[in-house]
């Protein structure tokens, strides 16, 4: 796979050293190319790329509010269409908070209306920008500032909301999960999403050094561990047809993933076992 060298997200942005979100955006934009308009919800990505009066974006980019990335993208798509510009990619980048919680109704509406947009959720599993508060996408057992581990709590007590499947239930033509640690898989999916007529949704898993608690050099390694343990599964749903796009040769114990992060450090063996059992169950259903 030939990967373009040209960058559409400039350096000098204020992402933490080892930021996974910017890796996701860099790789996605390489596939979409210069003829693209990007939209962001409020979140890490918006804050780190738009320190007024500077911008890290090399393409037109717009931010309005936390809850409406999908609505803004819908409007941009419709405006371009009315000008006869049908060949422009409109991509929305929103975090897991801006997707699973705050931006959910706008996203659901955009999917329902069938806009020709690409919506990429960069999922770091909590509100990292404001100091690691839990979101609907925070996994079971993770300690965040609003699901803190302590005497009366073992961390997040709800399972991760299954956003990609909720999007698939809208009947949109393209839904995929991805990981920044499997860049070719991710970029192929972005390319497909760009070629799709109608709404495409990609949910890309990206470790966060600050919120998850690990050395910044391990961002890619952590993402890989999530996939190799079965804690995060790579698949796509094209016109309703489900396909797993990567199967680890041998699934690693989920403890290897959990133990590498501070947010799971407090978990008792029985909680870790619960997580392993849950992963086993999901993987058995998908024959991974």
């Amino acid at each position: 796979m030939e990967i373009p060298e040209q960058e559409f997200l400039a350096p000098g942005h204020r992402g933490c050293a080892g930021c996974g979100a910017t890796v996701a955006v860099r790789l996605a934009l390489k596939m979409l190319g210069p003829n693209t308009v990007a939209v962001s919800s409020t979140g890490c990505l918006e804050v780190i790329t738009s320190q007024y009066p500077e911008t890290a974006w090399e393409i037109p980019w717009i931010h309005v509010a936390f809850e409406n990335a999908a609505a803004v993208a819908s409007g941009v798509e419709r405006a371009l269409k009315s000008q006869g510009k049908d060949d422009v990619n409109v991509v929305a980048f929103a975090g897991d908070g801006g997707t699973a919680d705050i931006g959910f109704q706008a996203l659901s509406g955009a999917m329902e209306r069938g806009h020709n947009i690409i919506y990429i959720c960069y999922d770091n599993e909590a509100y990292m920008n404001t100091g690691v508060q839990r979101s609907g996408a925070t996994p079971y057992g993770a300690s965040t500032t609003t699901s803190p581990a302590g005497k009366k709590s073992f961390g997040e007590d709800k399972p991760k909301k299954n956003l990609p499947m909720i999007m698939a239930a809208h009947g949109v033509p393209y839904v995929a999960t991805a990981s920044i640690s499997y860049p070719e898989d991710f970029m192929k999916k972005v390319k497909k999403a760009g070629e799709t007529e109608g709404p495409a949704y990609i949910h890309v898993h990206q470790p966060c050094t600050t919120g998850w608690g690990y050395d910044p050099s391990k961002t890619i390694e952590l993402g890989r561990l999530a996939v190799d343990t079965g804690a995060w599964i790579l698949y796509e749903i094209v016109d309703g047809e489900f396909k797993v796009t990567y199967r680890p040769l041998q699934r690693k114990p989920v403890n290897e993933y959990l133990n590498a992060q501070k947010r799971f450090k407090h978990l008792a063996d029985e909680e870790k076992e619960k997580i392993q059992n849950y992963v086993n169950q999901v993987c058995a259903e998908l024959k991974i």
């Binding site: 990967i3 060298e5 960058e7 997200l9 400039a10 350096p11 000098g12 942005h13 204020r14 992402g15 050293a17 080892g18 930021c19 996974g20 910017t22 890796v23 860099r26 790789l27 790329t49 738009s50 320190q51 007024y52 009066p53 500077e54 911008t55 890290a56 974006w57 090399e58 393409i59 920044i180 860049p183 050094t209 050395d215 910044p216 050099s217 391990k218 961002t219 890619i220 390694e221």
Partner: protein, 80 residues
Amino acid sequence: MTVKIGTVKEPGSSKMNKTGSWRTFRPVLDEEKCIDCENCFLFCPEGCINKENEIDYDYCKGCGICAEECPVKAIKMERD
């Protein structure tokens, strides 16, 4: 085109902000060992390593992902 308040018209102007000053450890490439796998280019959060494996130290924050992901250990992190 008129640019109103709240818009930034210079694309990629974050380049004015040299994040290399954040760095404590600097990645140093041993070109003899390099096999051009492009992992460092792909995984750099700054996008400051090109396909010729040149590292732009003006922006490198020293996260160490390139060294960690190098399959032949051609990149070493050295104290800046």
